[in-house]
Subunit: 202 residues, 2 copies
């Protein structure tokens, strides 16, 4: 069974609508390690050894966060800058993360259309996530398609509950022993994992 680590980052969870629902759903899945970065490091003072040990002990690493200024909240960058050390995570001798899967679980204010060439943000969400995709690649990890909740400001409680259900199911499938990770790069969004015939037959 694949071991999943969720590195969660939300500087104001008490004000959140989406993550307030996603977090309990994710936490309720047996066998998933939920690592709340702001709770553990309110001063952004990351314990590098602890974080590297966590990474080494898991197969799938997902960053769960709101999409702040076309990226993750600052603590995620702090975590990347400090934890993914040269010689450990990348470089000739840095193979600690080789073969693992890396991805984002994000909530986004704008609609999916707003993240398109014609839309308000002028570019696809995948274009903005390029630094994460390439970070995964440099560390010899496979980047999974992102799990995205678009248009969070207009979402009803019931809609968010549906996303929580989806995410729970997606993570459950990724955990399962016969999950085929090679299907991931073919997806635009991780949400679509549930539509894959090979996966739904399980």
């Amino acid at each position: 069974m694949a071991k999943i680590l969720i590195n969660f980052a939300h500087p104001a969870l008490e004000k959140s609508r989406v993550h307030a629902q996603l977090v309990p759903a994710v936490k309720s899945i047996p066998g998933i390690t939920f690592n709340d970065l702001y709770e553990n490091y309110p001063d952004l003072d990351i314990n590098v050894q602890r974080e590297q040990k966590l990474l080494a002990n898991h197969d799938i690493i997902l960053l769960q966060h709101p999409f702040y200024w076309y990226s993750a909240p600052a603590i995620v960058k702090q975590w990347i800058d400090l934890v993914l050390e040269h010689g450990w995570a990348y470089g000739h001798t840095g193979k600690a993360l080789k073969g693992k899967t890396f991805g984002n679980i994000i909530s986004v204010g704008g609609s999916e259309h707003s993240y398109s060439k014609e839309g308000h943000h002028g570019h696809d969400i995948h274009d903005f996530l390029l630094p994460f995709r390439q970070t995964a690649k440099l560390c010899n990890m496979q980047y999974a398609a992102p799990f995205v909740v678009f248009g969070v400001h207009k979402k009803e409680f019931e809609d968010i509950r549906e996303y929580s259900r989806q995410l729970t199911e997606v993570l459950g499938r990724m955990q399962s022993a016969d999950f085929d990770a090679s299907a991931l790069p073919g997806l635009a969004y991780l949400n679509q994992l549930l539509q894959l015939p090979a996966q739904t037959q399980q």
Copy 2:
């Protein structure tokens, strides 16, 4: 004369080769405000009011930093997350930055070729800078082409001195009263500003 603000971020300037030369060069230019983020906020505890006041008082805002993990060091993201508040920097009533110029001055480990489709990083440096470009746009600012020092690990002291000289000249031109900011979007790199006929005639 345009007022330039440099927000500088390097978590380990004592180990830097490029910025160790660029910083004194930049600081020596009369009329430029040099704002060292890590020096002012070693705990990443940004004074939002101070930073907003600085922004309001300048016409050109440049982020100077090494390119860490395809982006800026964490403190720059912290600064963006906290300082560019809704209703102040963006949104219907957020017009404090309207018409200003925004950009990056970066040092990059890889060569310019490594930042291409065929190269090691598989994408152009401009693709990785997209979150900064779009952040500028959302705040009604014009994004300037980035000033880039590629291949820093292999650069000789003399090469870096040449970049310092270039940067000093570029900033001097941007300050000058008759500088035409509409030339900026046509450049791939801010370094090329010196080659523009209209600018070199000054």
